[in-house]
């Protein structure tokens, strides 16, 4: 997946000033940056939850004009992607298992029993199989987020976008979610992860992107990025994180 010159503004406020971004198969890319730098907006534009002003996307070798996407093009790309939200957004009226299978049965017309097998397999993977019949409200934040990850996995996406998947969680619940994501990375899942978890960015991702004020300030291999950042702004950001 590749993005070229993505521009997005809300009214007169330009939030993204021409973002270039490449995510190759098997990459785990971490996006860092201070609050309000446009990380969420970037992910939302890439998945068409927000309409970008202009830019180009190359997905699976196909080129798309982000400024004027047709509905069927959006649907086509969404069949191959998945999104994990900061606040989970599980379907409140569906049990854990139905959350995971709904995208299969309704959007892809899969048989119920087959979808269920896949769903249980995914719940197993995130350690939630024993809670399959629970409604979201009966689950803790960490459990909900793991179900949300299972839901994302179930549609067999080529890439999963994560928007601060652990930010809404209590500290003691962050570990279980990161554990699952680490496992996915090991299995070679392609992921684009907005996060404040430096540990994750440093040890799990292979590339790191630092954003500020709607621009990509620095981009590099995870190791080099943390050991020897080139940009002064990146250094300042990393220092401020460490101080916390």
């Amino acid at each position: 997946m590749e993005i070229r010159k993505l521009v997005k503004s809300f009214g007169t406020n330009t939030v993204l000033h021409g973002i270039d971004l490449t995510v190759n198969k098997g990459d785990v890319v971490a996006v860092l940056g201070p609050s309000g730098s446009g990380k969420t907006t970037l992910l939302r534009c890439i998945n068409f939850l927000e309409k970008a002003d202009s830019g180009t996307m190359i997905f699976d070798g196909q080129s798309y004009d982000l400024g004027q996407m047709r509905r069927n093009q959006i649907a086509e790309i969404r069949q191959k992607t998945a999104f994990v939200f900061q606040n989970y957004n599980l379907f409140a009226n569906k049990t854990a298992i139905d959350n995971v299978t709904l995208g299969l049965t309704s959007a892809r017309g899969m048989e119920k029993s087959k979808a269920r097998d896949i769903g249980m397999e995914m719940l197993e993977k995130v350690g939630m199989a024993d809670r399959a019949g629970y409604y979201p409200i009966q689950l803790s934040g960490g459990q909900q987020q793991r179900v949300a990850i299972a839901r994302a996995l179930a549609v067999n996406p080529e890439i999963i976008y994560f928007d601060e998947p652990t930010s809404a969680l209590d500290p003691e619940l962050i570990g279980e979610v990161l554990q699952v994501m680490r496992q996915l990375a090991r299995e070679g899942m392609t992921m684009l992860v907005v996060t404040h978890e430096m540990n994750f960015a440093q040890h799990v991702s292979n590339r790191v992107i630092f954003m500020e004020k709607g621009e990509i300030v620095e981009e590099g291999e995870a190791g080099a990025f943390f050991e020897d950042p080139r940009e002064e702004r990146t250094r300042a950001f990393l220092r401020s994180i460490q101080e916390r």
Partner: protein, 249 residues
């Protein structure tokens, strides 16, 4: 000196009052039969039909607003504006006594069903619309992100959640409507209230008969309230932590 005549009067009174109470009792028994018959023939069917159509209308009107369908959205706003802004009784009179002047003559029961559907539909449309709008935006977005389209998300996620939210106010509407059906007596529909009125006209016992019909309405709305509570409990599965999670087989 004054005591004696009063005493004799009281004695007489007691005698007649025994006869009186027997008479009233008979009237009440007759009333009960006629009122119940009218409830089966008119009040209950009118409530069910009226509310059934009202729900269909409400669903349609709420959805076109929620989805922002051009033209239909404005149409829906105007419809709600008119039917919520004018009295039900006036609407009934207009339809039954007024419309024949422009060549629309309706059977009184049919007329009542139509007016109630439209009137109730306007109120329920507002309930449904706000219930739809109360479903968090994230539910729709999550649906898109697993590849569902707008209609699929509405059908599987948004509408079920909205119905759950709308259930208590909608139940209140049914109960209110059941009581409002007593207005149709005014356009010659032989409902429960009309049945009571007829007997009052013959027997001149408004106190007892109107008490009786009020009590029967009370019983009906109490039953509906119980049904509402029962259904709410059933529906609350995903709204309460207490519910035992269904075990997976």
């Amino acid at each position: 000196m004054f005591v004696i005549p009063i005493k004799t009067f009281q004695k007489k009174e007691k005698n007649t009052s025994k006869k009186m109470s027997e008479r009233i009792w008979n009237i009440l028994i007759e009333g009960f039969g006629k009122i119940m018959l009218a409830s089966i023939q008119v009040t209950i069917p009118l409530t069910i039909l009226g509310f059934g159509f009202a729900m269909i209308i409400a669903m349609f009107m709420a959805l076109v607003q929620y989805a922002g369908v051009p033209v239909l959205r404005q149409f829906s706003r105007i419809y709600i504006w008119i039917f919520r802004g004018t009295p039900l009784l006036v609407q009934l009179f207009l339809a039954y006594y007024g419309f024949p002047r422009i060549g629309i003559v309706l059977n009184s029961f049919v007329c009542a069903v139509i007016v109630f559907s439209l009137n109730e539909g306007a109120y329920c449309a507002e309930i449904m619309r706000s219930a739809l709008e109360a479903v968090p935006e994230g539910q729709m977005e999550a649906g898109y992100c697993v590849g569902m389209n707008y209609l699929q998300i509405m059908w599987h996620v948004v509408i079920p959640q909205a119905l759950r939210t709308a259930f208590p106010p909608l139940s209140n509407s049914v109960i209110a409507m059941l009581k409002d059906t007593s207005l149709v007596a005014e356009i010659t529909v032989a409902d429960m209230f009309m049945a009571a009125q007829k007997i009052v006209g013959r027997t001149y016992e408004p106190l007892w008969l109107y008490c009786e019909v009020a009590l029967i309405y009370l019983v009906f709305s109490t039953v509906l309230t119980f049904v509402q509570r029962y259904c709410e409990k059933k529906l609350s599965a995903y709204n309460s932590r207490e519910t035992e999670a269904a075990s997976v087989k």
